[in-house]
């Protein structure tokens, strides 16, 4: 055995700093949506208990687009986890492909959301329903864009050779934030689109 093999592995960089920070930011993002969603549910309950219809006349919220977005985002969770596993095995080729696919799926979700907005025929000035729905879904869209920037940043850093099996916190942190945003969408999908 050569002497190089006898040397102990270098100590890991102090772990989890980026993971811990990302977990807190993800929690903060979730709470921003949860706060608005609480107001949405309370207002909708008031409307329904008074015998009124929640959505204003003429407005509609189709289900096909939200369902497609839900499936797209679930696929993106799989590709994101694929990237984490790939970088953990030093398989850079697969990691690049998985990160790229995640970004494509994220972009597809953004496109579908904007298409959905045009289909809903809901005017933001029609009352509190429009304000609530556009604020909540818009805020989630903004967070999804932030998550995409995070993933893209980490993808470029991976392309620069920064991450490897022993140090993949950046990709894992991006995956954590991404997964949190998908979890938030699943709540919105049920609360706003399914139980409308």
């Amino acid at each position: 055995m050569s002497s190089a093999h006898a040397l102990p592995a270098p100590p890991l960089q102090r772990p989890r700093v980026l993971m811990v920070g990302t977990a807190f930011m993800a929690a903060a993002s979730i709470m921003a949506i949860v706060g608005m969603l609480g107001v949405y549910l309370a207002q909708r309950a008031d409307f329904l208990s008074s015998g009124s219809v929640w959505l204003p006349t003429g407005a509609s919220v189709p289900l096909q687009q939200p369902n497609t977005m839900m499936i797209t985002l679930i696929m993106s969770v799989i590709t994101m986890q694929w990237a984490v596993n790939a970088i953990s095995r030093n398989d850079r080729g697969h990691a690049y492909m998985a990160l790229g696919l995640t970004l494509v799926l994220g972009a597809a979700t953004i496109v579908m959301t904007s298409y959905l907005f045009t289909l809903m025929e809901l005017d933001i000035s029609s009352g509190l329903q429009g304000v609530l729905i556009f604020s909540i879904t818009g805020a989630h869209l903004l967070m999804l864009i932030v998550a995409m920037i995070f993933v893209a940043l980490m993808a470029f850093r991976a392309l620069g050779g920064q991450f490897a099996a022993r140090q993949h916190d950046g990709i894992s942190a991006a995956a954590l934030y991404w997964d949190a945003m998908v979890a938030v969408y699943s709540i919105l999908w049920f609360s706003i689109y399914i139980t409308k």
């Binding site: 807190f24 929690a27 921003a32 706060g35 107001v39 509190l128 950046g170």
Partner: protein
């Protein structure tokens, strides 16, 4: 452990964040970026703008928050003057804008950031870290906060802010509040991450100093609740700017939607770091190890859990204050407060602390915490009709803010030699003890008494007299924050301080030079107890 072993004053690094460093990066802990650049306590303004040094960032937070505090309490006094007699001192929209602006301002421009500033400076030192986590993000948070704070004041000055009269200025105020929320959350995340992930070897989470523990708890509560305030502000802004402005954005209803941030139980979140700070200062000045330390850790944690009040939004949930959960939180929070007070009492019994100004200011802060929490518990008693009393709620808010400013003054006085490297005259701090004690009492007690006027109508006749006394109290609190700044200024002109100017330091911030060099520490030995410097002193005596 010998203190000089852990102190590496020669380990100065560049004051700039490395240009190849991303927002998500944290400076390496080895201090290998050392340069010969001299380090001073207060960096030059230009280099300050590009600095990621947690000491510089913390100082800017503290100084700016205290300056904002002086403005905030002067505006509070103006609102008090307006409410005298027929209430024609200010126009209706200006009075509404000032009221909401001063409340929001005292929370987001003073209460949260002054503690965040102290934590940004001190927490990395207390846990033996060489830097704050994500220094570039921490700097971005600071400057976003400063900019947003300035915009909020400008918006309020031109009849904007919540419920203000000028449409575009209201929008500006809303954007400023949103910026403040984002900045404070980001800043808090950086410090909490430092305390959780960058602790020196051997410093388990139950061995961190109580101020650090209290900030982990308090910062986490802010990180979980300030985004909810942000959500409220987004709804108001979207309706006001893009919508019809008839629901969330309608004038007169905006402040009500966010008033939960300044009402119990959420307002108690401002007090969480104060509890840890008070316990740390008193134990250090007394020169004894904190007895029953685990009780304090649990107590501060329980206080944090019981101060999560974002769910009690009476604008959308009018029955919130009649819920058993609300009554339970308001009542139960007394218990952890008494536990912390009992811990302080145990220190006072086991040691004879010298009468120094940080000790006195800490006692004043603890008294106001007790006042706010005990009086708040009275609101549970329905026959007293306190829950919806504006005067009572204003008085309790004043007591909470008095506790925060007394705690901040105690922290600034206590850590000023560390921050400046010098010990100045104690005169401003000693005068400050009387000013903040008097100011807090005058600003809160008359309004708390006035809160009983709906039950005891005879008190209503004395309403104006009690309001005048409260205005005087607001003025004294404005003077108190100025005296706190003078304490810091006086320290810069004092005699040089050593590593441990109080001579009884327990935690690691007293093991590095005053002021600390940029990388704070060199290699630290493993920590084996919550009071590593007392361990070092004991082993020196044993040897």
């Amino acid at each position: 452990m010998v203190r000089s072993d852990v102190c590496r004053p020669e380990c100065g690094c560049s004051n700039e964040v490395p240009s190849n460093m991303a927002l998500t990066d944290t400076r390496t802990e080895s201090g290998t970026e050392a340069t010969e650049a001299a380090h001073s306590a207060v960096p030059a303004p230009v280099s300050l703008l590009g600095s990621g040094d947690h000491k510089a960032l913390g100082l800017v937070y503290v100084v700016a928050a205290l300056l904002f505090g002086a403005v905030g309490w002067i505006i509070s006094a103006l609102i008090g003057a307006h409410s005298l007699g027929s209430g024609t001192f200010l126009s209706e929209s200006t009075a509404d804008g000032f009221l909401s602006g001063s409340r929001i301002g005292l929370v987001l421009l003073v209460g949260v950031p002054v503690m965040l500033g102290l934590a940004t400076y001190i927490v990395p030192l207390q846990v033996g870290a060489n830097t704050v986590a994500f220094p570039r993000a921490a700097a971005a948070a600071l400057w976003t906060w400063v900019l947003s704070g300035g915009l909020l004041i400008v918006a309020n000055a031109i009849d904007g802010g919540l419920d203000g009269g000028r449409e575009r200025a209201v929008d500006l105020g809303l954007l400023a509040i949103a910026g403040l929320c984002v900045a404070l959350v980001l800043g808090a995340v950086c410090v909490i991450t430092t305390a959780i992930a960058l602790r020196t070897p051997g410093m388990r989470l139950d061995r961190v100093p109580l101020f650090t523990w209290a900030f982990i708890v308090g910062g986490s509560v802010w990180v979980l609740t300030l985004p909810i305030l942000l959500g409220n502000v987004v709804l108001i802004y979207v309706d006001h700017h893009y919508g019809a402005g008839t629901s969330f954005g309608s004038a007169g209803s905006q402040w009500a939607q966010v008033s939960w941030i300044a009402s119990q139980p959420q307002v108690y979140a401002l007090l969480i770091p104060v509890l840890g700070l008070v316990a740390d200062v008193i134990a250090t000045i007394a020169g004894v190890r904190q007895p029953n330390r685990n009780v304090l850790l649990v107590g501060i944690g329980a206080f944090g859990v019981l101060s999560i009040g974002a769910w009690a939004q009476t604008a959308f949930y009018p029955e919130a204050r009649n819920e058993p959960l609300w009554a339970g939180m308001v009542l139960l929070i007394v218990l952890p407060t008494l536990a912390v007070a009992g811990g302080v009492g145990a220190v006072l019994r086991s040691g004879k602390p010298p009468i120094k100004s940080p000790f006195l200011l800490s006692i004043v802060a603890l008294l106001f915490v007790l006042l706010a929490v005990l009086v708040g518990a009275l609101a549970v008693l329905t026959p007293l009709e306190l829950r919806d009393s504006s005067a009572f709620n204003t008085g309790q808010f004043a007591a909470v803010l008095a506790a925060v400013i007394a705690g901040a003054a105690a922290g600034v006085t206590y850590w000023a030699p560390k921050m400046t490297g010098r010990i100045g005259t104690d005169a401003p701090a000693k005068l400050n003890v009387l000013v903040i004690l008097g100011g807090g009492a005058l600003a809160s007690l008359p309004l708390l008494v006035l809160g009983f006027s709906s039950r005891f109508t005879v008190l209503a006749d004395a309403g104006d007299a009690l309001e005048v006394v409260a205005i005087l109290g607001d003025g004294l609190l404005a003077l108190g924050v100025i005296l706190t700044l003078l304490t810091l200024l006086a320290a810069t002109r004092g005699t040089p301080a050593g590593e441990d100017p109080w001579g009884t330091g327990q935690s690691l911030e007293w093991a590095c030079a005053s002021p600390p060099p940029l990388a704070n520490f060199g290699e630290l030995p493993a920590i084996v107890s919550p009071q590593p410097l007392l361990d070092a002193a004991d082993s020196s005596k044993g040897a």
